[in-house]
């Protein structure tokens, strides 16, 4: 498709949107976002951030938002649910499905609802956040999302509120050649705490385009787990924009297993002193899967800490990409940042590109990074086999161990580690050649 033909279906889908009763500022905002997308078009591989990502599956067909919502039975969602969740929102094809959700009783000071519902009842929660993400620059998929999003989820905590139970958000994609344009917001006011798991699953060849805007206030703490388990023919683009205030804590763990083409972007900015982030994840790829993790951490304040550790496994003809940038601004002294990317190639035709990058403009900092790409450890493999464990099982055990080592970084939450471990084992049951 030509550049114009690529964007045309989305321009038309935008024009055809029902005239929803939205605030004037939002309408305006959608207009300008659509214009921006039309100007930018799809990214090309000439752009550094997209150099290694093959967008062909997204460019070969058009994925307008769905005109109707698929019917989904509770049994279709059940296998994906997190048993230990206290509050649950399920979205189907990008739209809140109340019959599948179980928000439950929320403590005082906690807002958990769908984005559309929040726009109707508490627009002030979204106003600032949506205006601000307008200024995202050359990010065509965020612009497209800003123009077309229908729903998503909002979790907002008032100061000092501690939400004890885990919040679960399940995004289910079902509509063929359609896109879920999800806009999610997490806002933790000063001193509050929450744990959240987002699960992306589905069936068929749909496109999930999710944008999450996350603000963690002074001294607040958020654990954010993302389980990307989209259908093998789906496309997943998930962009997180995170801002941390003074002494905030943010931990993101992304387990990426599904999708024909999947990309997770995390753009994190330290806005206040003494904050810390942990960015962790494991990506398992097989067949012709294309999987990218791209992180940009902006140390714009002194004394902040970044711990970044990503692992990926590529089998068959799969292709994995890790792009990690840590930037330290001139005044961000006493920055302590390290980044590590470890990768495992399981097939002669599999490939992994790892590109760690530090841009340090301050002089009193402690920063390190590293990347490795290797094969399964032959001596470990032989050790297991020498005890009678069949070769295929031994390989499976070693890949599982490779992923488990990073899942271990999720401290003090055995249920979550077990949940992610279960999904890794499920993936591995499909065999690793």
């Amino acid at each position: 498709m030509s550049a114009l033909a690529e964007i045309q279906p989305y321009v038309e889908a935008f024009k055809a949107r029902p005239n929803a009763a939205e605030p004037a500022w939002l309408k305006q905002r959608r207009e300008s976002a659509m214009q921006r997308f039309a100007e930018l078009g799809f990214p090309t591989r000439k752009q550094e951030a997209w150099r290694f990502t093959d967008l062909q599956p997204l460019q070969r067909a058009a994925f307008p938002p769905p005109s109707s919502v698929s019917r989904v039975a509770a049994a279709d969602v059940a296998p994906w649910l997190y048993g230990a969740a206290a509050h649950r929102i399920v979205l189907v094809d990008g739209v809140f499905a109340p019959e599948l959700s179980a928000i439950g009783a929320l403590p005082k000071g906690v807002w958990l609802a769908a984005t559309a519902e929040t726009l109707r009842t508490r627009p002030e929660l979204l106003d600032a956040v949506l205006r601000e993400t307008d200024a995202l620059g050359a990010q065509p998929f965020i612009a497209l999302n800003a123009a077309l999003f229908a729903d998503g989820f909002v979790l907002a905590l008032e100061p000092s509120v501690v939400l004890g139970g885990t919040v679960e958000i399940v995004h289910l994609g079902r509509a063929a050649k359609r896109s879920s344009q999800l806009r999610n917001l997490i806002a933790l006011a000063a001193g509050s705490r929450a744990t959240l798991i987002e699960t992306y699953v589905g069936e068929g060849d749909y496109w999930t385009n999710a944008v999450g805007v996350i603000a963690v206030g002074a001294g607040a703490a958020l654990r954010h787990v993302r389980l990307q388990n989209e259908s093998a023919t789906a496309i997943h683009l998930g962009h997180q924009r995170v801002e941390l205030d003074r002494d905030a804590r943010y931990e993101n763990f992304t387990l990426s297993l599904g999708g024909r083409l999947a990309r997770t972007d995390i753009h994190l900015k330290f806005d206040g002193e003494g904050a810390a982030c942990g960015l962790f994840g494991a990506t398992l790829l097989r067949g012709e899967q294309e999987g990218t993790i791209a992180t940009v951490v902006d140390h714009a304040a002194p004394r902040c800490v970044t711990r970044e550790y990503y692992k990926s496994v590529a089998a068959d003809r799969a292709h994995g990409v890790f792009l990690g940038t840590i930037g330290v601004r001139p005044h961000a002294q006493k920055t302590d940042a390290n980044q590590l990317s470890k990768n495992l190639l399981l097939g002669a035709r599999a490939a992994i590109d790892a590109k760690p990058e530090l841009e340090i403009l301050a002089d009193d900092v402690k920063c390190s990074h590293g990347a490795t790409v290797g094969d399964l450890d032959e001596t470990a493999l032989f050790y297991l086999e020498s005890r009678g464990i069949p070769a295929a099982e031994a390989r499976r055990m070693l890949v599982e161990a490779f992923a488990a080592e990073v899942i271990e970084r999720i401290e003090d939450d055995a249920a979550m580690r077990a949940h992610l471990g279960h999904h890794v084992a499920r993936w591995l049951a499909g065999g690793v050649a």
Binding site: F382, Y383, S386, R387, E400, E405
Partner: protein, 249 residues
């Protein structure tokens, strides 16, 4: 049990190391293979256990009448061949208990036995742990991860005790052990001696043989068995050294 006939082997694409080894081990016997550094001891252990990186260029190895060299490493293990590693491998992320249970069930399946349930398994584990004085906490770690040198060697013998092989090949199991660990390991090996099991101990030193008394002792030198005898041969070597067998050290 084990018949090695004119075995020649080399490191893949490298020089020949075994140059015609002949050895017969019967059920119930304990053999010690001694020899200077570089005589081919570890190569022999590697070839028998199916370790990658070796190439057999001539000869034959029969295990219970079957062509051992035609079997894959995991197949040999399930059939009852056990190698205690000179350098046990650390495998972070693979839990020791999980690993041991997978191995035991694979071996039991081959023997036509059903999987052990968790209770039976734990009971068996505890009995053997006690024998080797291994703390139960070590089993909650990754395989050999954070183990001291002595703990690793004891873990090898512990695994052997759990898997109950027909033929155990112990590659320098005594190296790097203090006297207490050596006694524990010896106790573990002796507990496994039996009329249906054969043990081949590969060692540089005579020390282990004070505790595990062999039926036969062989000197491996220049890739061949240069001399065979009873347990007194080990004592003789302790006196004279390997000088007569081409080791300057």
């Amino acid at each position: 049990m084990l018949e090695i006939k004119n075995l020649h082997a080399r490191i893949s694409e490298g020089r020949e190391i075994l140059k015609g080894v002949d050895l017969t081990v019967k059920p119930g016997e304990v053999h010690a293979i001694m020899g200077p550094n570089g005589s081919g001891k570890s190569t022999l252990a590697g070839v028998l256990s199916g370790k990658p990186g070796y190439e057999v260029t001539e000869g034959q190895v029969l295990f219970q009448g079957r062509d051992l060299l035609a079997m894959a490493a995991d197949e040999r293990a399930r059939d009852g061949v056990f190698l205690a590693f000179q350098y046990p491998v650390e495998i972070p992320g693979v839990n020791n208990m999980y690993f041991l249970r997978a191995a035991l069930n694979a071996v039991r399946k081959q023997r036509g036995e059903s999987d052990m349930d968790a209770g039976q398994f734990l009971k068996a584990v505890r009995a053997k742990l006690k024998l080797l004085e291994i703390g139960e906490d070590l089993l909650q770690r990754g395989v050999n991860v954070g183990f001291s040198g002595g703990e690793k060697k004891r873990n090898e013998i512990f695994q052997m005790a759990m898997l109950e092989p027909k033929l155990a090949i112990l590659d320098e199991t005594d190296s790097g052990l203090d006297i207490d660990a050596l006694q524990m390991v010896s106790r573990g090996i002796n507990a496994l001696r039996g009329p249906k099991r054969a043990i081949v101990m590969i060692t540089h030193y005579q020390r282990l043989l004070n505790y595990v008394v062999p039926d036969r002792v062989h000197v491996l030198s220049g890739g061949r068995i240069a001399k065979s005898g009873g347990k007194e041969l080990a004592l003789e070597l302790e006196q004279t050294g390997y000088g007569a067998y081409g080791d300057a050290a």
